[in-house]
Symmetry: C2
Subunit: 239 residues, 2 copies
DNA sequence: CAACGTATGGCACTCAGTTCCCTCTGTAAA
DNA sequence: TTTACAGAGGGAACTGAGTGCCATACGTTG
């Protein structure tokens, strides 16, 4: 709203980056993203056009001003994670960390969500951002599972699952207009992933590499059922 | 290479779309994507600048000239899919359908892969394409699972898993330079997803359709016996 | 005061993508 | 044959994002 903030009675200049992001977001809400030019933004912010591109590499970046720092936070979180804990839990927690950035400013997040939903350019941009999170999670899992068979494959699939579940929970919260508890929604969604892929899952989910625990049975059609069952039983018993 | 093809002794004009796509791809390989302007492309193709944008909405589209039709194929496939078959199997098969487009032109696919890997703009574009496949798969699963609890969540997570596994297999094949069997690589990757999310969720997999009288059954240790038997029975019955 | 690094403004340029309008060509009706 | 029409392609001019280059202003340190 105002370009300067009152702090202890002294005028303190708001950082240009925030001034620009705020001016841009206002205009995007008023006229739409595509109907707003960079010249419009810098005019409202009262700065030169060149300054915009000094702080944001593209017009789209002004819509997600905090994603770089969020990515950095996630990097730090994963680097600090203990190798003792379940790897799936770690990446789920890392995803929740992103969520917190959203849930801190519900109104802003909801408005941005609406904007992003209806502007193809912003959807694409968001995709590329989300992809970076996913790659980071996959990288962490891959490193944790270097020894496991198909570790790389599992890492990518689990990372994709975590991101999908996180986004599902997040979007359901955003669609509700930011009412209710975002962490709850995402936690509930991630529970499915934790249960399915987590190392400490209940009996349904196999721990570690499946190769060892998989039994392949070949039978011919027409074979007597009792013989089939007999073989299945013995296979499952002592593998 | 040539703008006209000899057919039955008569000159037949190659369709402009292909002429443009080929000219564009050649130039992208020679000078790189960003160092090639649309003017360069139309100059080589010997057509007017305006024509390029008649056939491709953006420069990026010229790199993926067949994705729209591939998407249409997938739509048709999903619409024609039987409600009897395992929903997860259906979407896995739909993913393999995309793979076929790649494996039909290995050299082209490998060159494009290298190009896409090193041009950020193309990576982002590809992401938006892949996202459309994912949404389509998720839509199919959601519709199949309307009754299930958390059906929507499961649909999105499974779709993301399928896409991640597919891409893992595809990329490993592309990195190998197009040697070996792409279908094999992707099948192996998708096996993890089928096993984990298939409706015989505790491990039973559908029989191989190819062989007439041999049934292969995969089960995990610890799976409840009744489910295994149920699965065997149905496999032997209508396999 | 001078010298220097940093933050910002201004200008001109490239290039993607769009708008509007033109020509050419083949076809069907009069 | 002439006319009318439709559809494919060509082309000029425009908008707007993003970049490169240089000038200017300000604060710091010598």
């Amino acid at each position: 709203m105002s370009e300067a903030r009152e702090v202890n009675g002294a005028q303190k200049k708001a950082p240009m980056r925030e001034v620009l992001a705020e001016a841009a977001f206002q205009l995007f809400l008023e006229r739409g993203f595509e109907r707003t030019t960079v010249d419009d933004i810098v005019a409202r912010a009262g700065v030169g056009r060149r300054s915009f591109f000094r702080y944001f590499p593209s017009k789209e970046d002004a819509v997600f001003p905090d994603h770089e720092s969020c990515l950095a936070d996630m990097t730090a979180f994963l680097e600090a994670a203990s190798d003792e804990s379940d790897a799936v839990d770690v990446v789920c927690d890392a995803a929740c960390l992103v969520l917190r950035v959203y849930s801190t400013n519900p109104e802003f997040s909801v408005q941005r969500y609406k904007l992003t939903r209806e502007v193809p350019g912003l959807r694409t941009y968001e995709l590329s951002v989300v992809r970076r999170y996913e790659r980071m999670l996959a990288g962490y899992l891959r490193q944790r599972w270097v020894e496991a068979t198909d570790g790389s494959l599992r890492a990518e699939v689990v990372a994709a699952s975590v991101v999908a579940a996180h986004n599902n929970g997040l979007r359901s919260w955003l669609r509700s207009g930011g009412e209710g508890d975002a962490e709850d929604a995402v936690d509930r969604a991630l529970r499915l992933v934790r249960r399915t892929w987590g190392e400490g899952g209940d009996g349904a989910a196999a721990p570690e590499p499946q190769q060892e625990d998989v039994v392949v049975m070949v039978a011919t059609k027409g074979a007597p059922m009792w013989r089939v069952i007999q073989r299945v039983e013995s296979a499952l018993r002592d593998g």
